[in-house]
Amino acid sequence: MDNKKTTNNSDQQKINWDEYTPLPRHRYPFFIILLGLIVISCATYAFMLFPKYLIASKKIQDAYMAYRHEHYLESFFLYQEVLEVDPSSKAAKIGGAETSFALGRIEEESTPGNNFWNSIAMRQLTKITLDSHQWTRIKKVMPQDFEQYFGNKRV
């Protein structure tokens, strides 16, 4: 695994370097140029993705913090913005469902029988497998009747 760039001074001081022809500066073999181009292309692509995923990651954090501070609506829409970047983000779906259930509770207090936010939450959780800690998070805010809609749950 060692990558050695080495000139052992004590050994090589005896070498007459002028006898050898140095490689031309900044000239690289074809396969190195090719590999360099691949790496540079990947780096450029990654660099272009970098802000998008950085902002999405930051929004996940902010959405979670908004939820913790009970700014549920703000949290919900931040999660939706993350889903626009990555529609398959499990973290955003679960977070969105969690906030929707929290909004559903408020909705239930003001307009009993209205299930708009709870249905949004269930829509977010469609075809998702929850880990035990994720299930615990959801269970904290989800109305008990909704538990029947989940199959093979393990706690």
Binding site: M1, D2, N3, V39, Y45, A46, V82
Partner: protein
């Protein structure tokens, strides 16, 4: 922890080895040091090397030896983050193949970022010929001690830990300086409508 032969790891992470050697070569070129032979990758130990004319200047030796740490680390942070964020922060259920490639090249670069023992020996020899009272001597000596420690910790996969650290911690640091996001539409709206699977904000 388990032992995997270094040659096997080098083979798996060969892009990192090649970038490491290119970085040595590049810094030789920009410091005007004559290069006689470069092995960008080979199956053996060392997995790559650069033979160049001995350098007497500590600054040049330091740059040539530490060059891969700079180039490989930057590449690792840029390449690995999208792949790591998709897995770590977003917990994505789909993982496009390009992200595997980005992650693989990025982590490979990070794994081979540390200067090898041979590189550090070169700096140490150069340090012996440098005035011990100079600030440069102290700075380089401290960095060499840290890198020697890091090299010794490779036995517990420190190079992999470092690569993951670069892909994760640097973006976390950037994120800590970013302003908090909010939803500006919420402040201007009085009504939210759900239509065609989308939410719309209205003033009605």
């Amino acid at each position: 922890m388990f032992f995997i032969p270094g040659e096997f790891i080098s083979l798996l992470t060969f892009p990192g080895v090649i970038v490491h050697e290119i970085a040595h070569r590049f810094f030789c070129d920009i410091t005007g040091t004559l290069v006689y032979h470069v092995s960008y990758f080979r199956f053996g130990n060392p997995s790559g090397f650069v033979i160049h004319r001995p350098v007497t200047s500590l600054t040049k030796t330091f740059l040539i030896s530490v060059g891969p740490l700079i180039i490989n680390s930057v590449l690792c942070a840029v390449l690995a983050f999208p792949a790591i964020s998709l897995y770590w922060f977003l917990d994505s259920q789909t993982y496009p193949w390009i992200f595997y490639i980005l992650g693989w090249i990025g982590i490979s670069c990070g794994v081979h970022a540390f200067p090898s023992e041979g590189d550090l020996n070169c700096i140490e020899k150069s340090l012996e010929q440098t005035n011990k009272d100079s600030l440069l001597y102290m700075v380089v000596a401290i960095i060499v001690s840290l890198l020697t420690g890091a090299n010794a910790l490779r036995i517990i996969w420190f190079d992999f830990i470092y690569a993951m650290f670069l892909g994760l911690i640097i973006p976390l640091i950037i994120m800590s300086f970013m302003p908090n996001y909010d939803v500006p539409q919420l402040k201007k709206t009085t009504n939210i409508i759900f239509e065609n699977n989308n939410f719309k904000f209205s003033k009605e």
